[in-house]
Subunit: 227 residues, 2 copies
DNA sequence: AAACAGGTTTAGATATGGCAAAATCCAGTT
DNA sequence: AACTGGATTTTGCCATATCTAAACCTGTTT
């Protein structure tokens, strides 16, 4: 009945699956399909199935065959702990080691699994126990609370919509670099000007610059809608 | 023919074995026995044998059955790269995150395997490209050079011998903590006062304090002999 | 109701690293 | 030269996490 965390009794793979299921559940409040999970983890559906069965055995998810998977409360806590590691590390690497923003995600991706609780606490303290990263993304608290604000894909917004560009799905570093080169970084306010049909390009204004964004890119960009 | 490093194509296990063989070869310039390696890695001799065969296949060691194992030049380079990661991380954690000295070893032990070359470079730069850690232990250069000074076990010194306590074998944190509580830290000058026979206690002077050290402890303490 | 197309799960295989038990080698006695 | 004890290797097994290929559901269309 303690808030004791199980993160150290789980493999990196289990942690990654929990994190992926959390992210996918987030997007649409519904069970996560094996295919979606496999796609996100970049493994075959067969691999996803067997890992899902393992997570189920560990009590981290409930799996209804052919119907998808949902995190249990312990599973959600695990995912949030890993996410806390990840976001603290991103912030820490960027702030104190000047790791470029389009690289911190990849570094954090591997470090998050080996970060001890002691180091986590020291890093959090060093950063002043932040609750949000510089993009506005919330950092889960040590006891597993977050206030995740709902985001939309830029692609699905109508002309006239305004919002704040929050992040790129999976922090794809190619996309982040491409956007950064054009002066677009997370945190930027934007307004959708126009959208061509048939998955055509989307015109959006950032500051006083209008940019044309292709389908895949606009789909990956997550926006907090403000009006 | 480049100085390109193979560290990222090897598993953590392979890296750990290379590091262990390097350390054991260091102590006595002789082939490393399977048993010694198994003891150091805390695995069975059977496991050590099969890993040795794998390292041999990778060209990292030369293994003569029943005769022990030695690092090849690529194997030595790999070991030194991991050691560089390890010592840079120890220094970094202690300096910038105030991780207590008796804990940095364990943290570095896992981080060393996932540290990217980019982060390594950034950390080294942040620390001013150090060549030695605060104890005087040399940090291998990026291109695989070290000047390792020969150390002796405190246990094997004769009364009257003087030296500098450099480190505890395997950085055993229990021992480091025990010694720190008594004011003995790496870097301390010492003189052996007396040694009782039959693996009896050893009397050594650190500053103006004489301490009595038991067999296992004295055996684990490595000393750079100065006179 | 039968068929079809996807998505999902099972079955069987692979690579890593580990262990225990059995077989084998080596060196130092008798 | 045979014996013997400790070190070493071989053999067969386990767990993790992945894959391919085959079998199996499910919902929709015919």
């Amino acid at each position: 009945m303690s808030t004791h965390s199980e993160i150290h009794e789980t493999s990196s793979a289990v942690q990654d699956y929990a994190k992926a299921i959390y992210a996918l559940e987030q997007r649409a409040d519904a069970p996560v399909s094996t295919n979606a999970l496999a796609g996100r983890m970049d493994v075959t559906a067969a691999s996803a199935t067997s890992m899902v069965k393992k997570l189920d055995g560990l009590g981290l998810v409930t799996h209804v065959p052919y119907r998808g998977v949902r995190l249990t409360e312990p599973g959600r806590r695990l995912a949030l702990e890993v996410l806390r590691h990840h976001r603290l590390l991103e912030l820490y690497l960027a702030e104190t080691l000047d790791v470029p923003w389009d690289r911190v995600h990849e570094e954090a991706e591997v470090l998050e699994h080996v970060l001890s609780e002691e180091l986590e606490a020291l890093i959090a303290a060093k950063l002043g126990n932040p609750t949000h990263d510089p993009h506005g993304d919330p950092i889960p608290s040590p006891d597993g609370h977050v206030e995740e604000l709902a985001t939309s894909s830029l692609q699905e917004l109508q002309p006239g919509a305004r919002g704040v560009f929050v992040r790129v799905s999976d922090s794809d570093s190619e996309m982040l670099r491409y956007l950064a080169e054009r002066g677009i970084t997370p945190g930027a306010a934007l307004e959708v000007i126009d959208r061509q049909p048939f998955d055509g390009p989307l015109f959006a204004r950032f500051g006083d610059q209008v940019h044309v964004l292709g389908g895949d890119l606009a789909r990956a960009m997550r926006v907090e809608v403000t009006g």
